[in-house]
Subunit: 157 residues, 2 copies
């Protein structure tokens, strides 16, 4: 079944603790650097993720944004409302399907793309890792994510 059957619970506890500590720490360390880099763009990190998608696609229904970022409407609705209040996107009900809401960048939202141009370079530089290592990291993360999503963990221990 697993490759861990031979290890003692105590060892697994230690490894588990290290993994979850490390992942948590890395996630928040990235968040901290992004926060500084994005501050004077007026964007939070999740808002930046949404803008990245919109810069690439031009316009998307809320549903599609959620699929790309694995976010649901409970997270996206207020986030998009704030982006709209900041003048960066417009939201309007689709004509063909009145349930759907299409989000598109305003001219100001599109213009922000230029100002964000240096963010990736500065972020990658801050990681201190060469591109190959970052690619390896990404590969491991994606494998883990796919496995975890597929895991169908049983609720009852």
């Amino acid at each position: 079944m697993t490759t861990h059957s031979g290890m003692a619970d105590e060892e697994l506890l230690r490894l588990d603790r290290q993994i979850c500590f490390s992942l948590n720490a890395a996630s928040r360390a990235f968040g901290g650097v992004y926060r500084v880099l994005l501050r004077d763009l007026g964007l939070t990190y999740p808002q930046y993720l949404v803008m990245l998608v919109l810069w690439e696609e031009g316009e998307l229904p809320v549903k599609r944004i959620g699929e790309r970022l694995r976010l649901d409407s409970g997270t996206l609705s207020p986030l998009l409302k704030r982006l709209e209040a900041a003048g960066l996107v417009r939201r309007e009900r689709s004509a063909e399907d009145e349930r759907s809401v299409t989000v598109r960048p305003t001219p100001e939202g599109s213009a922000l793309r230029e100002r964000a141009g240096q963010v990736p370079r500065r972020l990658l530089a801050a990681t201190g890792l060469p591109v190959e290592d970052l690619a390896a990291l990404r590969g491991l993360l994606d494998r883990v994510t796919a496995a975890l999503d597929a895991a169908e963990v049983e609720p009852a221990p």
Copy 2:
């Protein structure tokens, strides 16, 4: 200075997007599995991290818990209050230093450790990765975290 100087902004944007997407997705995928595993212990993932530290140390001031988990009092105070309300820990002002609050597990809190025994094994199994790969992942994450923490990123682009 960086190893990325030769790459076009467009490429960097793509890599940056992939890295941050992947890290975000992995972090939340872990969170989802932990949520299921911890549900009937009545713990959230951050609460589990705190209990892990307390199970190991027996008792700690809030300050030390925060150092271990990189969390500040704004996060820990309400979290610990909830753990206390659940009967898992007790908080009391230190005698030597009245500013400090010592947190220790109650008997129920300590007893929970047994019921949590299978969590690490099940989590590691859900990742679908052999222990060596998980160790490699942890190594990369720790290197990135250390670099990001040391980066001293300039606020103004």
